[in-house]
């Protein structure tokens, strides 16, 4: 066990994947010499060479489109999209090509491409650098969508995503890149939680609190604070957004009777809306209150001097928890 930042844990996971499988290729803007703007790929080009860690021209559709071609040739490309707001030039390649190639070929073709996207706000950035576009990809059948929240999961989840024969959109909580945690880099993936499984972060009985990515830490802190008020929160890190681990979600919601979903993305048409519908269908008779969502407003991401008002924080989470007891 070693204490690693989330950025370093991803770096170690990518390194392991590059070592384990000669078909793995890392590609993106500034991923080589610079090591990525968040240093996630630091040192990889030096150790694995320019043909396996590729500084690409500056065009996201080109990155994903050529990654698809490499995958058709038998490679396992891992693309880095530098910031969430920059993924849209690649949207057609992801949604119309990557996601649909298996069906188009009636299962004869696999395109095991991973697309890493640093996402979310809280870093005081300019426009397009703080967005949470995950729902757009969850709405697209054929893609797996996952989000890591901490270093230990980041290390295993990136490797599992690379091994997966389905395309994976891999969201990384950019404001948590420098969070540290003990990571067991010695044990293999066999002992790891499956990629599509949610994880209980803090066990509780009163309210189910669902989050992923950067909001997991916020919700874990909310659980500690709520305990002082005598409320125990069952905090679940969803990890996989598509497919959702509905078994874990529903079991918790049935037990607590109250459910709050937290994400940075706008609540309208978001992951929370999908989960609220599912939980309502599956837990109707056990629910004591409507399923509530805490998230970004139905606005574009604001200028950074306002982002603290836009982003859910501990108090807004606790406020929603309180509201579930008002019914």
């Amino acid at each position: 066990m070693t204490a690693l930042t989330l950025s370093k844990a991803l770096n170690e996971g990518l390194r392991k994947a590059l070592e384990d499988d000669p078909k793995v290729i890392v590609m993106g803007e500034d991923v080589g010499k610079l090591g990525g703007v968040f240093r996630v790929t630091d040192g990889l080009q030096k150790d694995f060479g320019e043909s396996r860690v590729v500084d690409t021209p500056l065009a996201e559709s080109g990155i994903v489109g050529t990654a698809i071609g490499l995958a058709l040739r038998g490679y396992r490309p891992v693309c880095e999209i530098q910031f969430d707001g920059f993924v849209f030039p690649a949207f057609d390649q992801i949604v119309s090509q990557l996601a649909k190639m298996r069906l188009r070929s009636l299962g004869r073709v696999s395109v095991p491409v991973v697309i890493r996207i640093p996402f979310g706000g809280g870093i005081g950035a300019v426009e397009h650098h703080s967005e949470s576009p995950e729902a757009l990809f969850v709405h697209t059948a054929g893609l797996r969508v996952v989000a890591c929240s901490g270093p230990a999961d980041a290390y295993t989840m990136i490797q599992q995503s690379i091994r997966c024969d389905d395309p994976v959109i891999f969201f990384e909580p950019k404001r948590r890149y420098w969070d540290k945690e003990e990571v067991d880099t010695g044990s293999g993936l066999d002992a790891a939680l499956p990629l599509e499984a949610a994880r209980t972060v803090a066990a509780g009985d009163d309210v189910t609190l669902l989050a992923y990515g950067p909001m997991v830490r916020t919700c874990a802190e909310a659980a500690v604070a709520a305990r002082e008020d005598g409320r125990s929160l069952d905090v679940i890190d969803l990890r996989s957004l598509s497919p959702l681990d509905l078994g874990t979600i529903v079991a918790s919601a049935r037990r607590t009777g109250r459910c709050v979903i937290v994400h940075e993305a706008p609540v309208t048409g978001g992951i929370g809306a999908e989960i609220a519908a599912r939980v309502t269908e599956e837990c109707f008779y056990q629910l004591e209150a409507p399923v509530l969502r805490v998230g970004g407003f139905s606005t574009p991401y604001p200028p950074s001097r306002l982002e603290e008002h836009y982003l859910p924080d501990l108090d807004r989470v606790l406020d929603a928890v309180d509201r579930t007891f008002a019914y």
Binding site: T66, R73, R102
Partner: protein, 383 residues
């Protein structure tokens, strides 16, 4: 800038160019519309009579497949069909330049390439009938699935070519990739990005643009002010314009470009200057946007007729040969018609298959629920 009698404004082209995207003096042609063989110093082509007859056979059969498919669409058996009429030589010439290990990335109109790669035309009908989105195995014939979004496949081709480099398969006996696209596609970002990628990574890919003059209703002038092949220069690799209705020219030019790619000399852009003699698809009506006289002029440059003229002129083929090809064409027409009429619809629950490697829990549940829903009608009928 000039203003003509109707008041239309024509801007001059940049530099020495005339601002027109049409054919140029350097257009490569090895067989004239009259069926006369001409030599080109850079593109020697030595074909046996049997090889020429074989190319003629390809051209005729491919046209027959196209004709039959249009008829099937008109009779309601296909949802839509994208005709290749007029582009047979561009497709057959370029595809016959491919080696068995070379990989082709088509659009949705490359029925002639599909034929040359050995794909049963019935597979194409499955797509246009709505039975599948393609469904053939790209590895089997080294022919990728049809791509409908314009230009997207040029990036796949380039990435695949980068894989060839990583596999160490560049060299005299190496592999190459050909990416097909049209004149409209040259305006797409993906095509321009593919040019950049192929150029800076020196990828073994040939960009084969069938300039058929029309992107549905939009003429070439709406896509470009310079000949398309000249675009290559700005990306740093050679561009060539070939008579796209000349199967010999298309074969020779593509062969040379593929060999250059295999040997590590990087990409080439080939502009096959041709004409879409039919509609964009069976849903289109070209009389709304182009003059009949234009079509009549291109009919004189027919890609099939000029090979026939050559064979007759040189005394290489007799009436029995042509009759034999026509009979074979009729047989293929009957084959695909029969196969199309007998083609079963997929089972409803096939909707849930091949979305992921393994169906997710959600898909299994939806499948189960829908199966039960369908069964509820069966049991009602049984009562």
């Amino acid at each position: 800038m000039t203003v003509d009698a109707d008041g239309a404004v024509t801007a001059p082209g940049p530099g020495s160019l005339d601002g027109q995207p049409g054919p140029r003096a350097e257009l490569i042609q090895l067989l004239t519309p009259e069926g006369e063989r001409v030599e080109h110093p850079d593109y020697p082509l030595d074909l046996t009579t049997d090889q020429i007859k074989s190319l003629y056979r390809d051209l005729v059969l491919v046209r027959r497949i196209d004709t039959e498919a249009i008829a099937l669409q008109r009779q309601g058996e296909l949802g839509i069909w994208a005709s290749l009429l007029g582009q047979e030589a561009a497709q057959v010439g370029s595809a016959r330049a491919l080696g068995p290990r070379d990989m082709a990335f088509p659009t949705y109109r490359e029925h002639g390439v599909a034929w040359c790669r050995g794909l049963d035309p019935v597979k194409l009908l499955e797509l246009f009938r709505g039975v599948s989105h393609g469904g053939w195995d790209p590895a089997e014939h080294h022919f990728h699935l049809y791509t409908i979004v314009i230009g997207a496949q040029t990036l796949h081709a380039t990435g695949y070519a980068m894989g060839i480099q990583r596999d160490g398969q560049v060299g005299e006996s190496g592999e190459a990739v050909i990416a097909y696209f049209g004149d409209g596609a040259t305006s797409q970002g993906d095509v321009n990005e593919a040019f950049i990628w192929a150029s800076v990574f020196n990828a073994p890919v040939v960009f084969f643009c069938q300039n058929n003059q029309w992107a549905i209703s939009e003429p070439l002038e709406r896509q470009s002010r310079i000949p398309l092949y000249q675009r290559a220069r700005g990306f740093g690799f050679p561009g060539i314009q070939v008579d796209g209705n000349d199967v010999f020219g298309c074969l020779a030019v593509t062969r040379k470009a593929l060999q250059a790619a295999r040997e590590g000399q990087g990409p080439t852009l080939i502009e096959a200057y041709t004409y879409r003699m039919g509609a964009h698809t069976t849903t289109d009506d070209p009389t709304r946007y182009r003059l009949a006289s234009e079509l009549e002029a291109w009919k004189l440059k027919d890609p099939v007729e000029r090979v026939k003229a050559f064979l007759v002129r040189t005394g290489s083929a007799d009436a029995a040969f042509f009759d034999g090809i026509d009979e074979e064409a009729a047989q293929i027409g009957r084959h695909i018609r029969k196969a199309c009429l007998e083609m079963p619809d997929p089972a409803p629950l096939a909707i849930f298959e091949n979305v992921y490697t393994e169906p997710t829990a959600l898909l299994r549940a939806e499948r189960e629920q829908y199966a039960a829903y369908l069964d509820s009608f069966v049991s009602e009928e049984a009562r």
